[in-house]
Symmetry: C2
Subunit: 352 residues, 2 copies
Amino acid sequence: MYAIGVKRDTSGPQLLEIPRPEPAPGEALVRTLRVGVDGTDHEVLDGTHGGFPAEEEHLVLGHEAVGVVEEPNDTEFNRGDVVVPTVRRPPAGGNEYFERGEADMAPPEATLERGIDGAHGFMSEYFTSPAEYLIDVPDRLAEYGFLTEPVSISEKALELARQSRAGFSWVPETALVLGNGSLGLLTVAMLVEEMETYCLGRRDRSDPTVDVLDMLGATYVDGRETPVSEIPNRYEAPDLVYEATGYAEHALTGVQALAPNGVAALLGLPGPDERSVDLGAYHKDLVMHNKAVVGSVNSGPRHFRAAAETLDGLDATFLDALVTTLADYREFESAFATDASTIKAAVQFHEF
Amino acid sequence: MYAIGVKRDTSGPQLLEIPRPEPAPGEALVRTLRVGVDGTDHEVLDGTHGGFPAEEEHLVLGHEAVGVVEEPNDTEFNRGDVVVPTVRRPPAGGNEYFERGEADMAPPEATLERGIDGAHGFMSEYFTSPAEYLIDVPDRLAEYGFLTEPVSISEKALELARQSRAGFSWVPETALVLGNGSLGLLTVAMLVEEMETYCLGRRDRSDPTVDVLDMLGATYVDGRETPVSEIPNRYEAPDLVYEATGYAEHALTGVQALAPNGVAALLGLPGPDERSVDLGAYHKDLVMHNKAVVGSVNSGPRHFRAAAETLDGLDATFLDALVTTLADYREFESAFATDASTIKAAVQFHEF
């Protein structure tokens, strides 16, 4: 079968011909429908994140997938079930995080990540997975179900954020999403019905991401004109900040911009970034205003299930505008484009 | 009656003669037993924190009190009830935080603080308080009940910290308390039965605070030899960091020292402190290890009630060692000493 992967000795994604996998006991064989591409895939391609499976010369890409059960094998699934795989898999011997069903809380050294770190991803005509890592989703998610994974990332981050504020009355009225990439836009769509939502980007109108923000009823903030620190004065102080830029300074400015008792969820993965900052002001503000910061990575089965429900409730017009690129796997290159007209791209392997 | 306060035109605490207050409807008159002194009192005396009541020439000090109801007036209390007052009071007109019983979540501009900011404290022979701000405690807390307020500060901070980790399995095994002042030592006493507890200070043995740590079964870490960043290597990475030093860098180093999925509770109030730091490393570590930071200030009635219960369970030998100074109000000066032999001081107004 064909797969899209990267080889140790060459750069860039390429079409590979590899054997179709056989499901082991407890595993189902899944016929792949679509696989999304995100920033992590580009980091893997750049060699700045993740790594190859041990003793393998290639890594099959892709961690945002939706597929159809082709061979249930001995699992509880039925042929034709639409499923979304989770990303993390236990390293040899397993560990407590996987035993508890909380792989998303494992530190990096205690997990593999399919398509990212040490395990093949889902960008292939078929893939196998243990049944416990497959989430059953409604058939109508066959089209956009590959967005379950990114939505689940936000489900987890927002759960951690809300949980941190659960000890007192906290009714967030305003959210600030930092980053107008596809994850930022999906998160805006998740929040905008519940609260006034601002989204920070660095794009000139007209731009497809800004058009999506307009469509959603969110307010676009051009970070080149209005830095995060100015948002409380120019607009209002957010109760919730969701950071998906990987811009290191947002860990500080995002917290400082918060309203009293607010929480900032950090998801970006910046590189080293040495800066001179007033740590005293940062620390004192956190204390005097009972603020919180939560870091969040990956997501667990519970978040995938919540995400499937969320995704099912999102407006089709929004999803159609979000997914700008759908590439057949034989002509996958356009799915890895990073031009300003691309918001979210996916590779299609089969029709439902 | 006599009170200990500070005047606008002079520095240092002094004995003042002021009228004995009359309880208004809904208020009880309390005969003061003991009032503790802490770092905030010293900040008030230094003029770096808080402020005088509007149109008053003096501020009565003291926010850590225990007393006996002298005149219940029209409240539900009985004469002789041992009570501890909470600290925050509504500014004119009140606000949502007080209406919800969550004054501790009010931003600084939405509250007065007795003995600290804009309202007289409890360092006087008698004080009045609305019944809703008086916590009924067991008679046996007449002696050390003035510690209810500092313990309540930690009850709140630890509640926020635990709440932030409530969405997944989190069983903290190791705690690191930054600061070996009286609040740090009380917090060590609260944690040490439940987890391996380290406490960072900057004192040479023999020192009374280090002796108390030995007595409690905690491990003293000399921060001059082992900076916070070295603690995970030299000892172990803590699941919980509790910061009560006001040293700005701990907002970063305390988080970096955390074990995966750990939480740092910040309580100190540093002044401006400009530093060059690798914000990228800080931000990425928070995300990759699902860490959290909570700022916490003040405490609510629920935390006072929990604190009274906690205090009631603490070892009397520990409390005797902690309270190094008990000064009669007519000779109050020793309660404001800051020498190395003082851990916790209180002023006594009446015997129970």
